[in-house]
Amino acid sequence: MTEQATPVIVVEGLTARYDDRSILENVSFRVFQGERFIILGGSGCGKSTLLKHLIGLYRPYSGHILVNGIDIATHDEENLVKARMNIGVLFQNDALFGSMALYENVALPLREYTDLSEGIIEQIVRMKLELVRLGGYENHFPSELSGGMRKRAGIARAMALDPQMLFLDEPWAGLDPITAAELDILVRSINTGIGATMVIVTQELASIFAVGQRVIMLDKEARGIIAEGDPVVLRKESADPRVVNFFNRRTA
């Protein structure tokens, strides 16, 4: 497809540091329109740090991150809001607002950023919740839901404004295999249906193969990318022992 070739996220020479502890050094990669892109790697390799840079929560120490052509580290408020409208984020611990029912959680950005009437907002919210198979749970509070349901509700909220990009941080963490497999299907159907680009941070092997089209693998020692490509190909053909060990669940 032609639109596959358009990069929507361009990372060039990104260096990330906490104080003087270096996490990532000179990392460059691209994410293309409509693909399911996975960032993986062992614990502490900087996956979540990288994601927080991509969504503009952390500023790069050096280097550039362009999301839809907008430098995410810009100080121009107007541009930043525009960039943020186009991304939806599911945080690691779902980060649903505990004081609001699911309906309110999803409706919040719609009420803030659109001038739609409450009737249409209600339809949209219902539709998003149905999409993540949570129809009928509008009036439940996050604390009344199971972990898997909260993850899906987090996805519904992330999709509220129909963003062109969805960032999912460890969506499979703490889910049982069946729930995780359901989430695989959900993520794929949202991706193919809505066409949103997906950037997923995970280390769940089964889901990486089920969902991932292209992966980058980060490494703690290398402080950067040690492998990039289709996960199935990487597992078969990579010569790097770190990559082979990861994909085959072996210790070094």
Binding site: G98, I124, M127, K128, E130, L131, G135, N139, G193, I194
Partner: protein, 383 residues
């Protein structure tokens, strides 16, 4: 192209005779940002044009998001409700994908969960009453458990986490010095000043010393200190324990074989009970110091006569009752703070409620206990 125009980045074209077979050609983008307009435009079509059949041509559609697809499906539902044959044509793979996705969901289905209706007056009163009663029961059982745990700790001093006691003593006591100092000095100053205005008229200047010292040592010192500690530390206890409950840390303690009461509550209570009476004496002293300033500068009393008057007025019994009162207050403030912390259920907002409730309940209990003390001490004194 219509795209250059910002307000309207889509077009709707109706082809065909009114009341006949209508072809609706949609081009451009149907997205969340123009959905408001699109729904307005679409809503009128089935009713006003009254087509005998409706075909929607989406060939020229550049971009469609899920909210836009919802609007188109809504049009379809509306047409079908009027038994008008309806068809989408010219869907590209992207548009088809999104339509198929939405077809899997039942849009507009009624919510299965019952709406949470606000309860009626009688129900609310009943619920509030039940809550108070239940609260009293849990508070009593908590108090019972706390007392037995404290007795156990007294019998087994080695089981107490003394490091934690010290840390809490610092937090309740030392860190509270600045605010207690400030408030007690000012309180002494104000009381002395206000009373001096009245007493001066009778030449009873010296009784300012008596008034301030009796009021502070017997009543205001213990109460004020306890309320300050409730605001500073009772709330902190509730928030700390509440957050631990939310994060399953308390459950972790239980499974590791620790008694949460012994592990979390006992050090806090010991720290409060040790520190608050001392803090109260400190507050008494500083209030008297504040009033001394007014006495010396405003009433031409000497420091010696002022202090002498206080010595005559206040005896050890008064100081001791104040001391014992503050000991009880400390127990109440620490206990209710921890209790509210354990009552946290659910998420962060519940921690906030517990913290508020800890302070409010503590103040209520302080005043209640003080009234009981007033009556009991009155009858004790008469003997």
């Amino acid at each position: 192209m219509m795209k250059s125009e910002k307000r309207k980045d889509y077009t709707l074209e109706i082809r065909g005779p009114e009341g006949g077979d209508i072809l609706l050609v949609i081009t451009g983008r149907i997205v969340l940002s123009n959905l408001h307009q699109v729904t307005d435009d679409l809503r009128t079509i089935p009713a006003e044009v009254a087509p005998s059949s409706l075909t929607v041509d989406l060939t020229g559609l550049d971009y469609l998001d899920s909210s836009g697809a919802l609007a188109l499906l809504h049009l379809k539902h509306e047409a079908e409700a009027r038994s008008v044959p309806f068809e989408f044509i010219g869907m590209n793979s992207r548009v088809k994908g999104i339509m198929d996705l939405l077809h899997t969901v039942t849009v507009g289905a009624a919510s299965a969960a019952p709406e949470r209706k606000p309860a009626g007056l009688i129900e609310q009163v009943g619920e509030a009453g039940m809550k108070v009663a239940q609260d009293f029961v849990t508070l009593m059982s908590f108090t019972g458990a706390l007392v037995t745990t404290l007795l156990y700790s007294a019998a087994h001093p080695r089981s107490v986490r003394w490091d934690d006691v010290l840390r809490n003593m610092k937090q309740v006591g030392v860190d509270g010095f600045p605010i207690v100092t400030l408030i007690s000095v000012l309180l002494g100053l104000i009381m002395a000043f206000m009373s001096s205005l009245q007493l001066k008229q009778f030449g009873a200047n010296i009784y300012v010393a008596s008034l301030v010292s009796i009021a502070m040592v017997k009543e205001l010192g213990p109460i004020m200190t306890a309320i300050l500690v409730a605001g500073r530390s009772g709330s902190a206890f509730a928030a700390e324990i509440g957050t631990m409950v939310v994060n399953d840390e308390v459950n972790a303690l239980v499974t590791m074989g620790f008694d949460p009461l012994r592990f979390l509550v006992v050090p806090k209570i010991i720290a409060a009970v040790v520190v608050v009476p001392l803090l109260t004496l400190y507050a008494d002293a500083f209030a008297i110091l504040g009033s001394l300033v007014v006495g010396v500068l405003g009433l031409d009393l000497t420091v010696y006569t002022y202090m002498q008057q206080i010595r005559i007025t206040i005896d050890n019994y008064d100081v001791m009752t104040g001391f014992i009162k503050s000991l009880f207050f400390a127990f109440l403030v620490g206990g209710i703070g921890c209790h509210r912390g354990f009552q946290v259920r659910g998420g962060p907002e519940s921690v906030g409620k517990a913290t508020t409730s800890a302070v409010v309940s503590a103040i209520f209990l302080i005043i209640l206990a003080d009234s009981i003390f007033a009556i009991v001490l009155h009858y004790l004194e008469r003997k």
